[in-house]
Amino acid sequence: MLKKLFMLIVAGFFLASCAATKTEQGGDVDAASASASSSSGGEITAGTQEDLIVNVGDRVFFEFDSSELTVDAQATLDAQAAWLMQYPDTNITVEGHADERGTREYNLALGDKRAFSVYSYLAQAGIDTNRMEYVSWGKERPEVVGSDETAYSQNRRGVTLVSN
C-alpha cells in the first residue's frame, strides 16, 4: 500500500517535471500549471520536488562541452540553496547529464563534472554535503528525445532531485 502510494507520488513528479519543461520551451503556460496542480491533486506541498520545480526551478543548463555554471544557472542555484535552507530535513541528489553529441565515455565524465559543479556550488552556498549526493548519467537519460539543438540544449543539464 505504502509502495503504491509512493509510486503515485513519483508519477506525479514526472508529470510535473514534463510540465515544467514545456513551460521552459515556451509552451502553453496555462496547460502546464494546470497539469502541475492536477498531478498533486490541488495544492503543492511545501518542501517537495514539485515545490522545487514550480517555485524554484529544479535544473540548470550548460553550454556545449562545458561544466561551468552560467549566470542564469548560478541564480537558479542561489534560489535552490535558499530553498534547501528553508527545508533543512530535505536531502538531494544532483544528476549531471549531457547531450548525445559526444562519446558515451566522454559524456559520463562531462556529466560528472556538471553534477559536481552544481553540488559544490550548493556546498559553498552553505548546504551541508551530508544532505547531498551527485551522479552522472552522461547521455543515457535525455530529458527531451530528439536529434537537434532544441533537445540538446535541454539535455545538457544538472537536475536537483529531492531524495527523501
Binding site: T93, G102, E105, Y106, F116, E140, R141, G146
Partner: protein
C-alpha cells in the same frame, strides 16, 4: 577450450598460404569457393551437415574474401572426402577452391571429416577429421572449420570462433533498459544469451584477453562503478572501492589489470586514468591534468596506452607509457576525437571523430599519421577490433525525433578497407559491441 574437447587430426601439406591477402590491397575480389553438401547417412547427421555447411558458407561469405559458388551449378555431386574430385568439373564453374565433408555417428560422438582442394592446382591443401562429443558444439565446430579454411587460403588468422559481448537496448529513448548480452560473432540467434536482467543500467563491456572475464560499467544502487563479470561462474565483482564514479574500463593484455577512468570527488570529479591490479588490488594514477582523461586502451605489447583527453581544449587522442610518462598528442585532424582502440596487430588505432555534424570511424597509425575514415554517419560509436585486426565492429544510431520515434541503434561489421559493411543481427537494439579473442 574446444581443443580440449575435440580430438583433432590435422594434416598440413603446404605451409604457404594459397592466396595472399593484405589489408593494403583495398577492395578484394571475393574468391569463389564451392562447398559440397555435407553428407550424412541418417536424418540427424544430415541435419548437422546442413547446419555446418550453412555456418561455413555464411562465415566465409561475410568475411568479404570469399563467395560460395551456387550449389545448382555443381556438376559433380559426390562425397569428395574419400574420392579425388573431377577438378575439370569444378574449374568449369570457376570454383577456385572446393570443400567437401561428411558427418557420421561413432561411439565417441559425431565424426566430421573434411577435405579442402585447390581446384586450379588440382590438389588437396587441407584435410581434417574431428569428433564432436556433444551436439551443442556443432556451431562452434562450424566456426572452427571456417577458421581453418580462412587461414589455409588467406594466410591470415581467422576470427570466426569468437564471441561478441554488447549492450542490448529496449524501451523509450529517455528510459532505456540496457542489458549485457553475448552471442557468436555471426549474431546467430541460437548463440544469443542475456547476462544481466536489465534492472540496472550497464554500459561499455570489454572482453579480457583470457576470454573468461568481461569488464563493464553498471549503475548498481545508482552508483556507477566498474565491474567484472566472470563468464564461467556468472559472478559479478566490483573493481576496487572508489568514492566516486569509475568507468571506461579495459583489460591489460595479460588480463591481470584493468585500466579505467575514476572521477574523484576530492579532485573536483575530474576524470583521471587509473590502473587497477586485480591480484594485489593496488591502484595507481596514470594521469594528472585538469582536463577530462578517459577511454584508455593498451597497446597489445602492454607498453603504451592510448586515451582521450580534452586537456588542450577539445577532446583529442594521446599516447602515454604504461606508467603515465611521455604523454604525446597523436590526433592531428580537425574535429572532436574519442574512443581510441589499439589494434591487436599493434600497428593501428581505431577512433571516432565528430566533425561537420557527423561522426566518423577511422584508423590512424600509432603516431597519428595516415588517418583514414572508414565510415561516416550521423551517430557512430564504439569501434572494436576483430582479433585478427582486419575488421571493426561498431554501433550506428539513427536520428531521434521529438515524438520519441527513431534512435534505432544497431551493430555493424566492416572491413577496415571500408568495404563489406553489414549488420550483425541482434534480437533487440544493440550498442557498445566488444569482440572476444579467438576462443
Amino acid at each position: 577450450m574446444i581443443k580440449k574437447i575435440l580430438i583433432i587430426l590435422f594434416f598440413s601439406f603446404n605451409a604457404n598460404a594459397a592466396l595472399e591477402v593484405t589489408i593494403a590491397q583495398g577492395k578484394v575480389e571475393p574468391t569463389p569457393i564451392a562447398i559440397t553438401q555435407i553428407f550424412g547417412a541418417d536424418s540427424d547427421t544430415a541435419r548437422y551437415g546442413n547446419t555446418l555447411r550453412q555456418i561455413i558458407s555464411n562465415n566465409l561469405t561475410n568475411s568479404g574474401l570469399f563467395y560460395t559458388v551456387n550449389e545448382d551449378l555443381y556438376i559433380q555431386s559426390d562425397n569428395l572426402v574419400e574420392k579425388v574430385p573431377r577438378f575439370e568439373d569444378w574449374k568449369l564453374i570457376k570454383a577456385q577452391f572446393l570443400l567437401s565433408a561428411d558427418v557420421s555417428k561413432t561411439d565417441k560422438g559425431i565424426r566430421l571429416r573434411m577435405r579442402l582442394y585447390d581446384v586450379f592446382n588440382a590438389k588437396e591443401i587441407e584435410k581434417l577429421q574431428l569428433t564432436i562429443p556433444d551436439e551443442n558444439l556443432i556451431r562452434r565446430v562450424g566456426h572452427t572449420v571456417s577458421d581453418i579454411v580462412y587461414e589455409r587460403i588467406t594466410g591470415e588468422t581467422g576470427y570466426f570462433d569468437t564471441r561478441i559481448v554488447y549492450v542490448s537496448e529496449i524501451g523509450p529513448l529517455d528510459q532505456r533498459v540496457k542489458r549485457l548480452a553475448i552471442m557468436d560473432q555471426d549474431g546467430h540467434i541460437d548463440s544469443h544469451q542475456f547476462l544481466t536482467d536489465g534492472k540496472n543500467m550497464v554500459l561499455t563491456p570489454r572482453f579480457a584477453p583470457n576470454k573468461q572475464l568481461i569488464t563493464y560499467m553498471e549503475y548498481k544502487n545508482n552508483l556507477p562503478r566498474v565491474y567484472i563479470y566472470n563468464l564461467k561462474t556468472g559472478e559479478r565483482e566490483i573493481v576496487g572501492d572508489f568514492p566516486g564514479m569509475t568507468f571506461a574500463p579495459r583489460f591489460s593484455p595479460d588480463s591481470q589489470s584493468v585500466v579505467m577512468s575514476f572521477s574523484d570527488p576530492n579532485n573536483a570529479a575530474n576524470s583521471e586514468i587509473y590502473l587497477m591490479d586485480l591480484n594485489t588490488r593496488s591502484r595507481s594514477r596514470l594521469t594528472n591534468d585538469s582536463g577530462i582523461d578517459t577511454s584508455p586502451s593498451f597497446s597489445p605489447d602492454g607498453n603504451k596506452i592510448v586515451f582521450n583527453s580534452d586537456r588542450g581544449g577539445s577532446p583529442q587522442l594521446f599516447v602515454m607509457d604504461k606508467n603515465g610518462d611521455n604523454i604525446k598528442r597523436i590526433s592531428k585532424g580537425r574535429g572532436v576525437y574519442g574512443n581510441p582502440v589499439w589494434s591487436p596487430r599493434g600497428d593501428l588505432i581505431a577512433f571516432t571523430k565528430l566533425t561537420q555534424g557527423n561522426f566518423h570511424i577511422g584508423v590512424m597509425d600509432i603516431n597519428g599519421n595516415n588517418e583514414r575514415v572508414i565510415v561516416r554517419d550521423f551517430a557512430l560509436e564504439s569501434p572494436a577490433w576483430s582479433p585478427n585486426g582486419r575488421y571493426l565492429i561498431f554501433h550506428r544510431q539513427k536520428r531521434s525525433n521529438l515524438d520519441g520515434t527513431g534512435g534505432e541503434v544497431t551493430i555493424h561489421f566492416i572491413d577496415i578497407t571500408g568495404y563489406n559493411e553489414r549488420v550483425i543481427p541482434t534480437p533487440r537494439d544493440g550498442s557498445d559491441p566488444a569482440w572476444s579473442p579467438l576462443l
